[in-house]
Amino acid sequence: MSDGSVALEGVTKRYGSETVVAGISLAIPAGEFFTLLGPSGSGKTTTLSMLAGFVMADEGRVLMGGRDMTRVPPRGRGLGMVFQNYAIFPHLTVAENVAFPLSVKGTSKSEIAARVAEALAMVKLTGFETRYQRQLSGGQQQRVALARAIVAHPRVVLMDEPLGALDKNLRYHMQVEIKDIQRRLGMTVIYVTHDQEEALTMSDRIAIMERGRIAQMGPPREVYEKPQSSFVASFLGEANLLRVRRDGPAVRGPGGSVLVAAEGGLSAAEGLAFVRPEKVRVESGRAEPAPNRLTGKVLHASFLGNIVRYEIDAGDGATLLCDAANAAGVEPHRPGDIVTMIWRPEDSRFLAA
Amino acid sequence: MPLGRLPAWLLLAPALLLLIGVFLVPIGWFLVASIMELGTPAEIWEEVDAVLFSGAVAGALINTNWIGLVVTLLVLVIGYPVSYALSRAKGVAFTLILLCIVLPYFTSTIVRTYAWMVLLGRNGLINQVLLGTGLISEPLNLLYNRTGVVIGMTYVLLPYMVLTLYAAMKAVDMRLLQAAEGMGATPLQVFLRVFAPLTLHGVIAGVLITFILAIGFFVTPALMGGPSDIMIAMLIEREVELTQNWPAAAIMTVVLLTVTLILYGLYSRFSGALEGGAKP
């Protein structure tokens, strides 16, 4: 493999009459941290399996470093991979597990020793060489799996929900370490997860998958702030999606209020207006008649520590979530209070219903 | 990583070849060739009629079923408490009970039969003890008659029943029994209305497997039985070894095989997983 670029061209996989992956195309440049994000059954794991070579695509091509790998078995792809439940060989020690990809290739003993030591140092497991899987904690097993995936210096490493089984604290630590190792080794990482927070923190780019297709692809900030569909908007974090309808040149939302958005005009007669809770400002009192200003009644105020989340009834069956920073000197609104919700047009988009 | 269709069949090929070449084909060939030897369908039918309704075969079929039923019943009655104890025992008690079942189970049938021949003989341990205590004045005839056959077969078949029942009893959630007790049921009611129904499929599977094995039995009745305790499997062996009467052997085999396979079909339904019955 000359470099770590990866591409899929119209890749399709069917199981019987069911199409699990429907003509996916994407191009990942070398050194990118690319995440496939989606709910279970969206086709992300099947896509990863086709990249690894466990599953053969029915249509389309899989390219790595410019070479066609569509029909190449896993052993010929030169990949590293971290599995969901780590897949540590129970009959081998930590050192033997990490050495596995090298010993398969017949690398010399001295080189294996040096590379294993280097990989174990990188995942901070020096001193655990002679242990077996059953003597390791979940976090340690995760590190062994990571060391085994990088020991042969692959240009591309696949990771299938590698942190899924860890508790929250450990997860955060491992996120930072994986990112760090990826940058140091300059490798391409293709990462599968259903955890949107993890995807946002770690990725250079995210592809959000929905029913075998890519719903949207782009840098974390872009997909978060500029979703192109209600699915993407609500899958990534909290989103307010207000029913709107076209009324001449204007677009009207709850209570006939006029709504404007910087991008994405409303193509159909009806649609949805998208705005994130943290982009909505909440002020006391009734709203003056102006665009993107709604009057509502506070239903609940939940204290979440650094923020206060309001659930506000805006009339016409529309309920908005609004997050206010729990900043110094700010008096929170109370349930029953009449408030005004305000947001900027550039924080809002119209989406198809 | 699943295997493709071709590699899977290639890996299965040796086992299938063996099964076909040294099991299915021989049985089929033996049956078809022996029966065809008789000539026209009318002649075949005549022979079938003659064999099946001859005194010897009819008697053997009655013996086979009768001994099979008696042995199965005895095995169930003895096996049930042992299985229950095994399913509830822990630690050393469990190991000891298991040993008492597994050691005979894995000991050669002929050794187990021989052991009972030693015990039941005219000078055997049982007669010695009975004579010694003065309960009897003449040694009892326990060997070379139906009593001997039933005792020997019950002993040989007991482990199969115990292991089948054990699997069913182990699966019963003890909390259900406690719940029933908590609702005021007497121990007998708990047993009859909760435990027995929950282990019924195990009993049926155990009864079927014991009966299947019993009706095909040959070694124990041949060694421990008398002249009037001939079972069908013994008759098949005699036709082949002594008189070389292949057609008669084939006709009896068809009967035995048909009954066995029908009961096996039933057994598969009750045992759920096929692995459950064969070996632990």
Binding site: F89 | L11, L16, F23, A115, G216, L223
Partner: protein, 268 residues
């Protein structure tokens, strides 16, 4: 009846039954060391005269040899064939899997007399009666179900993800098998080897038909002598067979223990 009395009664019955299960085997083993002219229990004197007679007889010695040779051949053959089949059953994707499995297990259910007579029918035509490797092949038919059941449960412990991991690491199919599947399933493989040996070593009915005069196995030799009389030498032979069973059960227990224990370093 009070609960204490009832429990005691149930226990007494179980102890009695368990004793009854084990007693015949133990009694034969003890009686085999009898110094008396016929089998008495308890023996009035002890000696190894029946063992001397057993091992001093050339026919018994050749029976031991036949049994060992056929047993070893059977265990190798059935373990290899059974492993391949069990692996295919575990990972293969094909239709009629359940049906195929029950077909592979039928030799346990079909009366051995039927299998024996049928194979004998064929063997007699091809001059295979008394040929030891052929007897081993016939034994493999009945040992295969035993092996399959043991190996299927052993292979269940091999996580498919481990096989995928090995493939990504550069292993061929055979490499995955040799480096991952086989080592992890090894205790099961050893178990299967032991129990298939025992199946063959104890098999009587098929051997009666196929052994001929040349290749009498121990059970066949016992059978032939028992048809004549219940002679005490057979107690010694039986004790040998029991000892082999005990040995194999013990080895199997040992393997299980080693496997569960592993190297017991404490994990931090």
């Amino acid at each position: 009846m009070g609960p204490v009395l009832r429990t005691t009664l149930v226990r007494a019955v179980v102890v009695l039954l368990c004793f009854g299960l084990l007693a015949p085997i133990v009694i034969v083993a003890i009686a085999s060391f009898s110094g008396d002219g016929y089998l008495k229990f308890p023996p009035e004197s002890f000696s190894t005269r029946w063992y001397e007679r057993f091992l001093g007889d050339a026919r018994w010695r050749s029976a031991i040899l036949n049994s060992l040779m056929i047993g070893v051949m059977t265990s190798i053959l059935s373990t290899v064939i059974g492993f391949l089949a069990a692996y295919a059953m575990m990972r293969g994707e094909f239709r009629f899997k359940r049906l195929l499995l029950s077909l592979l297990l039928t030799p346990v259910i079909v009366p051995h007399v039927v299998t024996a007579v049928a194979v004998y029918f064929l063997s007699a035509r091809f001059g295979l009666v008394g040929v030891r490797p052929w007897i081993a092949v016939a034994h493999t038919v009945v040992a295969l179900p035993v092996v399959l059941v043991i190996l299927q449960s052993a292979l269940r412990t091999v996580d498919p993800a481990l096989e995928r991991a090995a493939m990504v690491c550069g292993c061929t199919r055979f490499g995955v098998f040799r480096r991952v599947v086989l080592p992890i399933a090894l205790p099961g493989v050893v178990s299967a080897t032991l129990f298939s040996f025992l199946t063959s070593f104890d098999e009587l009915v098929i051997s009666i038909f196929l052994a001929g005069i040349r290749s009498e196995t121990l059970p066949v030799r016992i059978w032939n002598s028992l048809l004549l009389e219940v002679e005490p030498t057979i107690a010694a032979v039986s004790t040998l067979l029991i000892a082999v069973t005990v040995l194999i059960l013990g080895l199997d227990a040992l393997i299980r223990r080693i496997r569960e224990g592993g190297s017991a370093l404490p994990s931090s």
